[in-house]
């Protein structure tokens, strides 16, 4: 074995210590980089060279060839990643839902004096007032004005909610664009990683970037993914491939729908790009927006459900009120004699079914003259000795509607509205709780991920000192061999000089 072999070993030792210190530097440098996974050098001893062993002077003293790098690896748990991405979709769904339902609650603003309940109470109180004094024109005007206020309130909330529905529609489109960006970038990284890793190296830093994108994507639509044996990376959503290595199936939002209940135009259906197959998804932020936009049942509360409730209330209120009102008689004024069969709320050409909270309106007669409010149950004849102007029987029946419990369709006006509000409140509070528990789960998973992959500065310091010592020791070995060679070369064979 050659003396110079020792120099070779020292060289490999110096090189690997130096590389380790550099890698420590890289780890420390990226200690705060989002998505960075700590890296380590996997090293192994170089096997003793077998070829020259038969000419070795001492066959029992074969020494290995030093050290070499296997690979620079990253320390990451695929299991935690999968868990985290699965829960992330759920968080995306509930978090969006909780925030938006809270917003809907604040739009309805039920606890304020400008709520629908308050406007309805004001209206019915003025009707009660009318039953006390049906002759008084100011009180009649008050009934008309309070009815207008109630209608305005209905319309205001209807408009606000319908606008919000359109906002969710736009949010869906924006989210689809984000998803497409992420899919495209993931496919690009797939190509880079594949090419890089052909050499046998690991593309650690590019993998980190792809992992960040997968985290983001999992929050938006909920994904599953795998890396097949040939190193191709595949992303699925609901069993359909969105990314297969460098091939991407993009999504496309096409305005082919109309808004549920509100009937607003240009609502987006999401397709796989270039096909007529609707995109299949059931979790994440995108799905949350879809439920908020389209949900129309008590277990799927969305804007349409609230709009529907308001519509039903407006519709049956108009019908029940008109029913009683049209059976009464109006107050004569000017040349106009007392009439019966007058509607209080306007009935559209298509009947009560066409009334929405956004189109509820007073009838033309009530708007023209407040004397057309029918408070009396009998014909009022201003010429007769008893004109019957004090007859308040119909006004009493109108006022009694507010406490009546068997109005078709809604039961009781106040209870109906109350149950809708409470449904939203419960849904909102459930979403908040779900968000909270999802956040706790994700915090825990994130912590575990950090525990495995995060850079610990203390640890890196210790390692740095270890590598530094290894480097110093290797240098010392080199010096020892150097000195031995010096003796051999420069001071050997000088006997008797």
């Amino acid at each position: 074995m050659s003396m110079f072999f020792g120099l070779e070993i020292s060289k490999s030792a110096l090189a690997i210590s130096q590389r380790s210190i550099t890698l420590t530097g890289h780890n420390i440098a990226n200690a705060n980089t989002v998505g960075y996974t700590r890296q380590r050098i996997l090293q192994q001893a170089i096997d003793p060279s077998l070829a020259p062993s038969h000419i070795a002077t001492d066959k029992r003293a074969i020494i290995g060839g030093g050290v070499e790098t296997c690979v620079i690896d990253q320390i990451r748990s695929d299991y935690i990643d999968r868990q985290l991405r699965k829960e992330n979709a759920s968080l995306g769904f509930w978090n969006t839902r909780a925030e938006e339902l809270e917003y809907i609650e604040s739009i309805l603003n039920e606890l304020s004096d400008s709520s629908i309940s308050a406007a309805m109470k004001d209206f019915f109180n003025s009707v009660s007032e009318l039953s006390i004094d049906p002759v008084n024109e100011e009180i009649r005007t008050n009934v008309q004005q309070n009815a207008l206020k109630m209608i305005d309130t209905f319309r205001h909330y209807y408009r606000g909610l319908a606008d919000l529905q359109t906002t969710y529609n736009e949010s869906m489109k924006v989210t689809v664009r984000d998803v497409n960006d992420l899919l495209t970038n993931i496919a690009n990284y797939n190509k880079q990683i594949f090419a890089y890793e052909l050499s046998g190296q690991k593309a650690n830093d590019i993998r980190d970037k792809r992992n960040v994108l997968l985290d983001q994507l999992s929050e938006l639509i909920g994904i599953t993914y795998e890396e097949d044996s040939s190193g191709y990376f595949i992303v699925n959503c609901d069993g359909v491939e969105l990314v297969n290595h460098s091939t991407v199936t993009l999504l496309e939002a096409r305005p082919t729908l109309t808004g549920e209940v509100s009937g607003e135009p240009d609502y987006y259906e999401i397709y796989y790009e270039g096909t007529d197959t609707p995109f299949s998804y059931s979790d994440g932020v995108l799905y949350s927006y879809k439920v908020l936009r389209d949900g129309n049942s008590p277990d799927d509360v969305g804007i349409p459900y609230v709009l529907q409730s308001l519509n039903t209330l407006a519709r049956f209120m108009a019908e029940a009120f008109n029913d009683v009102h049209s059976s009464g008689y109006t107050m004569p004024y000017g040349a106009q004699a007392s009439q019966t069969g007058i509607n209080f709320f306007d009935v559209p050409a298509g009947g009560y079914g066409d009334i929405t909270a956004g189109t509820l309106a007073l009838s033309a007669q009530i708007l023209t003259n407040v004397n057309n409010i029918a408070a009396s149950s009998v014909f009022i004849d201003s010429e007769a000795p008893n004109p019957q102007m004090g007859n308040n029987i119909n006004a009493l029946a109108l006022s009694a509607l507010s406490t009546k419990m068997d109005i078709p369709g809604v039961g009781n006006f106040e209870n109906y509205l109350k149950s809708t509000i409470v449904e939203i409140a419960i849904e909102s509070s459930t979403s908040q709780k779900m968000t909270y528990s999802q956040k706790t789960i994700l915090d825990n998973l994130e912590n575990r991920r950090q525990s495995v992959s995060g850079v610990s500065l203390d640890e890196e310091m210790v390692k740095m000192i270890t590598y530094q010592h290894a480097y110093a020791a290797a240098s010392r070995v080199l010096t020892a061999i150097d000195e031995a060679l010096d003796v051999l070369i420069n001071r050997t064979g000088l006997v008797g000089r």
Binding site: K121, S128, P385, M389, G390, K418, A425, I426
Partner: protein, 311 residues
């Protein structure tokens, strides 16, 4: 578990954030005095809260209705009492006149006086509360009692003497009801027929007849008939007064009850919606303490690192 300083720092930041948001929440509660700002804060509580809001709102309207009913009935009562006074005076005159020692001139003088009373009784029958005639039933806009050219008294255009006239009987049944509670209405009206009575012995006709009898120099025996008739009239009016008085009493009771109810509902609503300030302050102080402690600890976490100890 492997713990990195970054984990500690981010955990610390998260907790600090939680503490801050808790402080913010408590501070909001104290500043607004409200425990609930939106229904989802307490979906179950909100049910009773909305219920009580309705009750308070309605109760206040009913209270106003009761006040108006009371005003109406009090004015009715004072008219009835005034009518009773008139009848009493007439009765005294009748008693005084029922002897044979009075000259026709005396009788005519008294007849003048009774005529005054009779006309005043008509004014009472046409009394108003605000703009509305009290005793007209549903006729609140024109004087219910009118005397026609032949001296007959008409109630809402119908001869009051004809007690069997169906039109008059239906006028007698007219009742104006006011809403004075949840699904409770009260008849607050007293019709003119109830006030004066119907038929020959109605108050106006009795006085009118009495007046005519005096003018015609009626005998003591004839006049003494009017003593009984006027007594009957008085009994009749007193029974009207009792009916009105009874209703006033009931309304006053209801009025007091509404005042208590509103207070009770306000208390229930406040229990659900409002913050217990003492508790809120205690909670705030506690949160503040936790926040301070967290800041203190943070000071240690942030500064500790192996680097400080490497020579």
């Amino acid at each position: 578990m492997r713990v990195t300083s970054n984990m500690m720092l981010s955990g610390y930041l998260k907790n600090l954030g939680n503490n801050m948001s808790e402080l913010n929440k408590l501070q909001n509660k104290m500043a607004t005095g409200k425990r609930i700002t939106k229904p989802s804060d307490d979906p179950i509580g909100i049910i009773s809260s909305m219920q009580t809001r309705v009750k308070i709102y309605k109760s206040e309207q009913y209270k106003r209705n009761v006040e108006k009913s009371l005003t109406w009935l009090e004015q009715t009562e004072s008219s009835v009492l005034e009518l009773n006074d008139m009848l009493k005076t007439a009765y005294e005159k009748a008693v005084y006149m029922s002897n044979d020692f009075l000259s026709p001139e005396d009788k005519i003088a008294t007849a003048e006086m009774i005529e005054q009373l009779r006309d005043h009784v008509l004014t009472i029958g046409n009394a108003k509360s605000g703009d509305k005639y009290i005793f007209g039933g549903y006729n609140v806009t024109s004087p219910p009692f009118v005397v026609d050219d032949s001296g007959n008294i008409l109630y809402n255009g119908i001869d009051l003497i004809d007690a069997s006239n169906p039109a008059l009987l239906s006028e007698d049944k007219a009742s104006i009801q006011y809403e004075i509670g949840f699904d409770v209405v009260m008849d607050i009206s007293t019709t003119g027929t109830q006030l004066f009575g119907m038929g020959d012995n109605n108050v106006y006709t009795v006085l009118d007849d009495f007046c005519n009898a005096l003018r015609n120099d009626a005998s003591a025996e004839e006049i003494s008939q009017y003593i009984a008739k006027l007594q009957d009239c008085q009994t009749h009016v007193m029974s009207v007064d009792a009916s009105v008085g009874g209703r006033v009493g009931r309304l006053e009771l209801i009025q007091n009850r509404f005042e208590d109810d509103v207070l009770m509902y306000e208390a229930i609503k406040s229990n659900i919606e409002d913050v217990d300030q003492a508790e809120a302050i205690m909670n705030y102080k506690m949160s503040e303490f936790v926040y301070m402690a967290a800041l203190q600890i943070g000071n240690n976490i942030v500064q500790t690192s192996l680097i400080n100890f490497l020579k």
